[in-house]
Subunit: 208 residues, 2 copies
Amino acid sequence: MPQSIATARVLAALEEKAASYELVLVNIVNGEHKQPAHLARNPFGQLPAFEDGNLMLFESRAVARYVAKKYDSGMDLLRSGDAQEAALVDVWLDVEANHFDPPIAVISYQYVVLPIFGGVTDEKLVEENAAKLEKVLDVYEERLSKSKYLAGDFFSLADLSHFPYIHRFMLTPKATLITSRPHVNAWWEAISSRPAVKKVAAGMTLGG
Amino acid sequence: MPQSIATARVLAALEEKAASYELVLVNIVNGEHKQPAHLARNPFGQLPAFEDGNLMLFESRAVARYVAKKYDSGMDLLRSGDAQEAALVDVWLDVEANHFDPPIAVISYQYVVLPIFGGVTDEKLVEENAAKLEKVLDVYEERLSKSKYLAGDFFSLADLSHFPYIHRFMLTPKATLITSRPHVNAWWEAISSRPAVKKVAAGMTLGG
């Protein structure tokens, strides 16, 4: 589903590479993702799963890496040609997964997804995770005061990987955590103005 | 500190590659990891940080990737020569980080680390995380019934990355979650009998 955060990560990589692909919907509302056909594609019953000929992949960051390597048109999102730049892309990809994703996932879910299903935002849980996210964004602000993007003065998969959750997060009352930090805000403006990102973002609208 | 799970992951990669390196202790007991000198190396104030000439890295899986790429002696832990194998290594590295690590971290901490500092194991928290870990290990058991290692019939960084937490977990009363699954147990036997892994494991002893 194009609204899925992890799916949007893969779609953005495909769009950046101008790859041709087919998006096949898996209906999570009726539980299709927990049925045997989908579990054969993704044993954890999550979105997305990715097929390329006989190759079956899951885990969105691993899929995005594969896409970045396979389609060599345009920029090298992994900076494979330079061992040091590639290592820094790997560092900030892991920072996104291990530090950034957990708190922003909770906040975005509480404010944007839960109300659609009739739930009530848990403000205490939001505040706990906002405090964690602030600490992470303070590290980003410092880092981005020294380079335009996280891994250096080049756009990479590490930056791209942040797009889906920030896009959703900007719909929440906590968006000021981004806009109040000048370097983080400029970085987000640079990411979100990319044509590939705008195209995928347009498909992420929930509800309505 | 060689007892640090993330540090052990990097050390194991260095040992597999027979790289020469120096382990510089950062004393977390007196808070050295939160001081400016260490924050300049790792802005999240965690272990490890990694220096190679002018290059400074953190996030253990990213560092292990760098080590695997830099030292090309012996096996290719990332299977860089085969795009499909490399993608499967990436998938299972991300599974380790995103599915396996969170529950086993809680259980290992509750049983092994907390008591050293006078804490009492939270059995309810352990049971919640044991249930999560069981679901993950059921996926592993199925996967390992089809290939000797996670990404295929070859040892890779995806397998290696699991070693530090399983080594510590085997000291807990929940070790049967590993030993009761024949393919998972055989996989762990194969990993833990590797000379590089045995060497790093010997330095991980806590307390006493």
